[in-house]
């Protein structure tokens, strides 16, 4: 146990301060080509014509790939679980977001690759795009995918993630006050200092060595193998040195395409996003539309909550269903509410596909819930700390999805927040603990919940 509490040197610290840490961009191989992409300049439309012949004939160009070069163009992370794939590696027939990759060139240097991209001929017929998940959610909105604008492959082929607990109709019937709010956390770019990058090297053995900035090596390996339709033993992925990720390097942004170009050209191929690409077309944290209605008593008990959440997945679903699931589990925040009705949808828009970012799906709902809690306290004229501590999770309480809490931390955290903010809590709040509910903290509407939960366990 010498390590616990000790200030140990970072294993990579000396590498970082001497410039010797090898990121993907620092890997040197002979004969390397640079990749550049033709991306959709429009938000949504049909590709009427695509001709790469002039680019292919441009001096210094060694390969151009389009959807026709991909053995399995449409692949999804959750295919192995039976969820149909929805995203093409390279656009085919239709583009659904500005920046979607249509074709990629590998050339002797970046300037030549850029010139060749300019020589690709492409024509579109534009369609009306959708950018707001609330508008895209409407049944009569233009349909972005043939099956509509909702992801519809939650368990049991449901079109939503739903949670039902207790008797929400009773709660809203009993309520002294109903307080509603709509919360819309915006997209955020992860902004790693190292932009998306990979380098694929064809080996004499027929294998590919892929240097990647990925945060999820085995996801990437599976994604490349699936698109290329090769067994995993044809691929050697080298990674683990990530120049900042924050969730933005969970999806495979470039590896599959450099692998395709390396196989087609027989040369090592590197693709490094420009900072502009990183901002405009790499995945972001999702924007959300969250509607909350709480049934309240005048003395500050939350009897019930109804929630409608729309998770803007952008043009394709990627990991959004997973993010929404985490969101649903946390949608009561750190508080106990016995009667719950939650419906969450993953909604497609014509934005860049969204992905994980620090607290995947949970930060959005935490923002919404805490803002709502403060709104309730303001509206009812309650002290915001007292209101939170009253409804705080305690030992023996159950979450929306019926996890019985053994060690909840709401009470000490709210107390610590008050202390850090320089707010003096009343003695009974300052000394409150997370112990199981008794007395004033166990009103009748929570007694019945705890009895029910005991019976079901």
């Amino acid at each position: 146990m010498k390590a616990v509490g000790a200030r140990l040197p970072r294993y990579d610290g000396v590498g970082h301060v001497t410039g010797q840490t090898t990121y993907v961009d620092d890997v040197r191989v002979a004969g390397m080509l640079w990749a550049k992409a033709l991306r959709s300049p429009i938000h949504r439309g049909d590709i009427m014509r695509l001709d790469t012949s002039k680019a292919e004939g441009h001096p210094g160009v060694h390969a151009v790939v389009t959807h026709a070069d991909v053995p399995k163009n449409v692949y999804g992370h959750l295919e192995a679980l039976g969820v149909p794939a929805d995203e093409p590696l390279l656009a085919e027939g239709e583009v659904r977001w500005k920046g979607q990759v249509i074709a990629v060139v590998a050339a002797e240097d970046e300037a030549t690759a850029r010139e060749a991209v300019e020589l690709i001929e492409v024509e579109f017929e534009e369609k009306e795009p959708l950018f707001d998940p609330r508008k895209a959610f409407d049944p009569d909105a233009p349909q972005i995918h043939p099956w509509g604008n909702w992801y519809n492959h939650f368990e049991g082929e449901m079109d939503r993630r739903q949670i039902r607990k207790g008797d929400v109709a009773w709660a809203f019937d009993q309520a002294d006050t109903i307080i509603q709010g709509v919360y819309r956390p915006a997209a955020i770019e992860h902004l790693p200092l190292e932009t998306q990058i990979s380098l694929s090297v064809p080996e004499s053995t027929g294998r590919l060595t892929i240097y990647s900035c990925t945060q999820a090596m085995y996801f990437s390996m599976g994604v490349v193998a699936a698109h290329l339709q090769v067994p995993l033993n044809r691929l050697k992925l080298v990674g683990g040195t990530v120049g900042g990720g924050f969730g933005g390097k969970v999806d495979s942004a470039t590896e599959t395409i450099t692998a395709l170009l390396a196989l087609k050209s027989g040369r090592p191929v590197k693709w490094r996003f420009t900072r502009e690409e990183e901002f405009l077309v790499s995945s972001t944290r999702a924007p959300w539309h969250i509607e909350i209605a709480d049934a309240l008593t005048d003395d500050g008990w939350i009897l019930g909550r109804k929630t409608l959440t729309l998770h803007d997945s952008g043009a394709y679903s990627r990991f959004s269903p997973y993010g929404l699931t985490k969101h649903s589990f946390h949608h009561l925040g750190a508080y106990t509410i016995p009667n719950v009705h939650f419906d969450g949808y993953v909604v497609y828009t014509n934005r860049v596909p969204t992905t994980a970012m620090r607290g995947f799906g949970v930060t959005s709902v935490s923002f919404a819930v805490e803002t709502h809690m403060s709104r309730i306290a303001d509206t009812l004229g309650l002290d915001p700390f007292e209101f939170r501590l009253k409804n705080a999770n305690r030992v023996g309480d159950t979450t929306a999805n019926r996890v019985v809490l053994q060690d909840p931390s709401t009470v000490p955290i709210v107390q610590a927040v008050a202390e850090a903010a320089g707010i003096e809590l009343a003695a009974e709040l300052r000394t409150m603990s997370s112990e199981p509910r008794t007395g004033d903290l166990l009103p009748e509407h929570l007694v019945s919940q705890q009895v029910l939960e005991k019976e079901s366990h």
Partner: protein, 151 residues
């Protein structure tokens, strides 16, 4: 053209409008400066040009013909870290490490002209150097430590 790179004179073949960053990384094999944005916005390519911290991505080679260039490789080695390198390591001022080279060179440039900077001086110098991991506090502490302060 010629550069004196970390004390060694080097002939350079790249075309005159090539960025100093590309010359260092692609021709001369100096990999500590990073291509974080190539627009002068992030600071990760910072090197010393005749002792002054500058962004290598914005400098055409022709404008620095004959200049003395110092990069992280010229500050010290793993067995013999320079003062700024040692301080960054001791103060845990690097997380992913991608901005670190630029931070080190900005700090080195500051300490060469201002050996006893205030915390404000350090913040001013590091303004425009983007770090997405650490939140900057440990980086500023490290520069204070390198200057002999009390971080």
């Amino acid at each position: 053209m010629k550069l004196t790179l970390n004390g060694v004179e080097r002939d350079v073949e790249s075309p005159p409008l090539t960025s100093l960053l590309a010359v260092l990384r692609e021709e001369l094999g100096i990999l500590s400066p990073k291509a974080g944005c190539q627009q002068g916005g992030c600071g990760s390519c910072t090197v010393l040009v005749d002792g002054e911290a500058r962004r290598a991505c914005l400098i055409p080679l022709a404008s620095v013909d004959g200049a003395e260039i110092t990069t992280v490789e010229g500050l010290g080695s793993p067995d013999d870290l320079g003062r700024v390198q040692a301080a960054f390591n001791d103060a845990y001022a690097a997380q992913c490490g991608y901005c670190t080279s630029g931070m080190l060179m900005a700090a080195e440039g500051l300490l060469r002209t201002n050996p006893s900077p205030t915390r404000e001086d350090i913040q001013h110098t590091l303004g425009g150097h983007v770090c997405r991991c650490t939140g900057y506090v440990k980086i500023i502490d490290a520069v204070e430590l390198a200057a002999g302060g009390v971080a």
